[in-house]
């Protein structure tokens, strides 16, 4: 039997918020990026669920696009993380705060 779209959305919302909170709690930029991946994937669940609900492929296309963009984004973000932290003893985003005010 068909699972209601609301259930999928509830799961995706929970996953989304998990990611958002994780972003705020972790100090390791790599973990923060993983938290962001969680958020993006939460969006993917919602899209796929709606695609199924509307029987419309464009929702799935969006998911595919998000996966591709996520790959690009992860590559760039990790490259930047490497650039920033390569010469530092600790990988801690809170160290990166010379600009303020």
């Amino acid at each position: 039997m068909q699972i209601p779209v609301g259930d999928y959305l509830a799961v995706s919302a929970a996953l989304f918020i998990t990611g958002a909170v994780g972003f705020l709690l972790r100090r390791n930029p790599i973990t923060m990026l993983m938290a962001i991946e969680l958020m993006w994937n939460a969006g993917n669940i919602a899209f796929a669920a709606f695609a199924r609900s509307f029987v419309d492929m464009s929702g799935q296309i969006f998911v595919f696009i998000v996966i591709t963009v996520a790959a690009a984004e992860a590559a760039i973000a990790l490259a930047i993380v490497v650039m920033v932290f390569r010469r530092r003893p600790h990988v801690d985003v809170d160290d990166i705060s010379i600009m303020r005010g």
Binding site: A20, F23, L24, V93, D94, I96, S97, I98, M99, R100
Partner: protein, 647 residues
């Protein structure tokens, strides 16, 4: 419309601004004299073009003499307005008509002579370049004022003149008195600007337009009450700019500026703007009798008021300042009763002789190394013959001695007052004429005669051709300027006829009332004799008078205590309130409200900086909180929507 008539006005207007810009940006690389040359050339070019324009316009038939030039020009594809803020459309338009042309001629012509004079007068100034940049700016803003085609641009020029005068009065920034005087002038002028702004709002409300053409065409559509209010608020602007009662206190203080600046303010620009405004807005005043009456009374009162103060002052420039106030009072009086041509005529002659008087006084001051107190002068007639002869010419003109210019223009005003049935105003105006003769000749005697030289330093006779030439030119103009109006021949009224075509009561001045003219001439002679008697023949009588009239004299010496009254009326309460506020509201307060406000602002600024912690996780948190707030609001909206839908 021929091409000349559309491009020339803009050239006239922008040449002085161009001068300012060139001096400010290009001249630093060149010799300081380059600045003076550029400034003079700019104004002279403006003047030449104005003359050409004037000759062209006055050759046209009367109906074609007034025209509007708009920017963007007609060939631009788009509608000719600068801003369209429905339903208000504001064009950048210039209106050229005989009235504007008269003012433009004087502003550029006399302005040019004063520029010429400044070359020599300011020769020792450190900020030579800046001075000429400001002077050109001053002329530019005044041109904006008189050439504007609608009230908004008039206001722009009006404010610009105030700003330029602020810069020039406070030109000697190292003298606190000059800075204070500049600030005072600015504040009082801003009060006037507010008045004009209110008038503009009312105009907009009643006519839906600010353009001269539309407002004047529909002037009858508003009731007399509205017109009276508009007139009163415009008058407030005029009063502030023209130093009329009760906002006159800035003008004597403005003497702190360099003498050419005083000449420019008094003769060509600034103070005459009020007269121009009322003449320009004459369709409003013609239908607003109460406002017009107020104008006349203010003018008459100021004329008399300033003349009495002039009788006792010792500072040569201050006396001239009060004389200006008084003469402007005449003009305001004239335009107030509807004698627009007479007022304009007096403006023209006054520009000649007042600029001349300031230049002559400037030569004296220059040669005495800055001394302005007449008690330390005396006997200078022989030492400075040029200054003396030119000053005397100016005095003869201002006091109305035949055949000098003042005789014709002042008589025209007095004559018109009688013709238009204002006997009381005529009486006081005539009394003022007597006082004028007295204090002006008093000044001549104090400065140039009354025994030997009383100063400490020997005057040096530095003379500069650029100072002498304009003075001599103006002396000639002060003599012949009045001949524009001769018995049976009135060039002024006929020149202005097209501007005031809608007035049936525009009286020609050609028709002399000879008994009246000779009577005023006699009064001027009486004034001369009184001054001669008191200051040349019988100084002991002067002492006696001084002791008997001590309270009156004290009153006049202090200019009727206006400054003191204003101090107690406005400044003291303001400071009290402010300091109380500071004491109770802001414990560390030093200077009151503004400091408190500034501090609050800075506190808020710091709060905003505190938001920028530099930690990106904090930034993320700030975002999430924002998300929560927005979500909460939106779901509330959705809930409301659902509730609405359910109902």
């Amino acid at each position: 419309m021929s091409g000349t008539l559309t491009t020339v006005p803009f050239t006239i207007l922008f040449l002085p601004l161009f001068g300012t810009i060139v001096i400010a940006f290009v001249c630093p690389r060149f010799h300081r004299v380059a600045a003076a040359i550029i400034a003079n050339l700019a104004i002279f070019g403006s003047f030449l073009l104005t003359v050409i324009l004037a000759l062209t316009v006055w050759r046209l038939p009367p109906a074609a003499q007034a025209f509007t030039v708009k920017y963007p020009p007609a060939w631009a594809a788009h509608p000719q307005f600068w801003a369209h803020i429905p339903p208000l459309t504001i064009s950048f338009e210039l209106r050229i008509d005989p009235l504007a042309l008269v003012w433009m001629l004087i502003v550029t012509g006399v302005g040019f002579l004063i520029h010429l004079y400044s070359i020599g007068y300011m020769a020792e100034s450190k900020n030579y370049r800046t001075f000429f940049a400001y002077m050109n700016l001053f002329v530019f803003t005044m041109l904006v004022l008189v050439m504007a085609g609608n009230f908004l641009w008039l206001l722009v020029g009006w404010g610009g003149v105030g700003l330029a005068s602020y810069l020039l009065i406070g030109f000697d920034t190292d003298r606190p008195a000059a800075v204070a005087a500049a600030r005072k002038a600015l504040i009082l002028n801003v009060i006037g600007d507010v008045g004009i702004m209110l008038a503009l709002f009312l105009m907009y409300a009643h006519f839906g337009s600010l353009s001269y053409k539309e407002v004047f065409a529909n002037v009858t559509s508003a009731g007399p009450a509205a017109l009276n209010w508009i007139g009163i608020w415009l008058l407030l602007g005029a009063v502030a700019k023209s130093a009329q009662l009760p906002l006159q206190t800035w003008l004597p203080d403005a003497m702190e500026g360099p003498t050419p600046v005083s000449a420019l303010i008094h003769a060509a620009t600034m103070v005459t703007a009020g007269v121009y405004l009322i003449a320009r807005a004459h369709p409003i005043y013609d239908h607003a009798p109460l406002a017009a009456q107020t104008v006349a009374i203010v003018g008459c009162a100021t004329a008399l008021f300033a003349a009495t103060i002039g009788c006792v002052q010792y500072d040569i420039k201050r006396v001239l300042a009060y004389s200006t106030m008084s003469q402007i009072g005449y003009m305001v009086l004239a335009v107030g009763v509807g004698a627009y041509a007479a007022g304009t005529f007096h403006f023209v002659t006054h520009a000649f002789f007042k600029a001349l008087l300031f230049m002559a006084a400037g030569i004296v001051i220059h040669n005495l190394s800055g001394e302005q107190d007449t008690r330390k002068m005396g006997g200078l007639a022989k030492r400075m013959p040029l200054a003396f002869s030119t000053f005397l010419a100016g005095t003869l003109a201002i006091t109305g001695i035949f055949p000098f210019a003042g005789f014709f223009s002042k008589d025209a005003i007095l004559d018109q007052l009688l013709r238009l049935h204002h006997p009381a105003l005529w009486f006081f105006a005539t009394l003022t004429a007597l006082l004028t003769a007295f204090y002006m000749f008093r000044l001549v005697f104090l400065t140039f005669f009354s025994g030997a030289y009383r100063g400490e330093h020997e005057p040096h006779a530095a003379r500069s051709g650029t100072m002498a030439l304009p003075a001599v030119l103006l002396a000639v103009l002060s003599l012949v300027g009045g001949w524009l109006v001769l018995p049976g021949h009135d060039a002024v009224t006929s020149a202005l006829a097209s501007t005031f075509a809608d007035r049936s009561t525009l009286e020609s001045m050609a028709d002399f009332n000879w008994p009246l003219s000779l009577g005023t001439l006699a009064l001027a002679v009486v004034g001369f004799l009184a001054a001669y008697a008191l200051y040349e023949r019988a100084p002991q009588m002067r002492e006696r008078l001084r002791t008997t009239l001590r309270p009156v004299r004290a009153l006049l010496m202090n200019a009727y205590y206006f400054d003191t009254i204003y101090h107690w009326l406005f400044e003291v309460p303001a400071y009290t309130v402010a300091s109380d506020f500071a004491r109770y509201v802001d414990p560390e307060g030093i200077a009151g409200v503004t400091t408190g406000l500034a501090r609050t602002t800075v506190h808020l600024g710091d709060t905003m900086r505190g938001w920028e912690t530099g930690y990106l996780r904090r930034y993320g948190l700030s975002m999430l909180v924002g998300v929560v707030l927005i979500l909460a609001y939106y779901l509330y909206v959705a809930h409301q929507g659902a509730a609405l839908g359910a109902r």
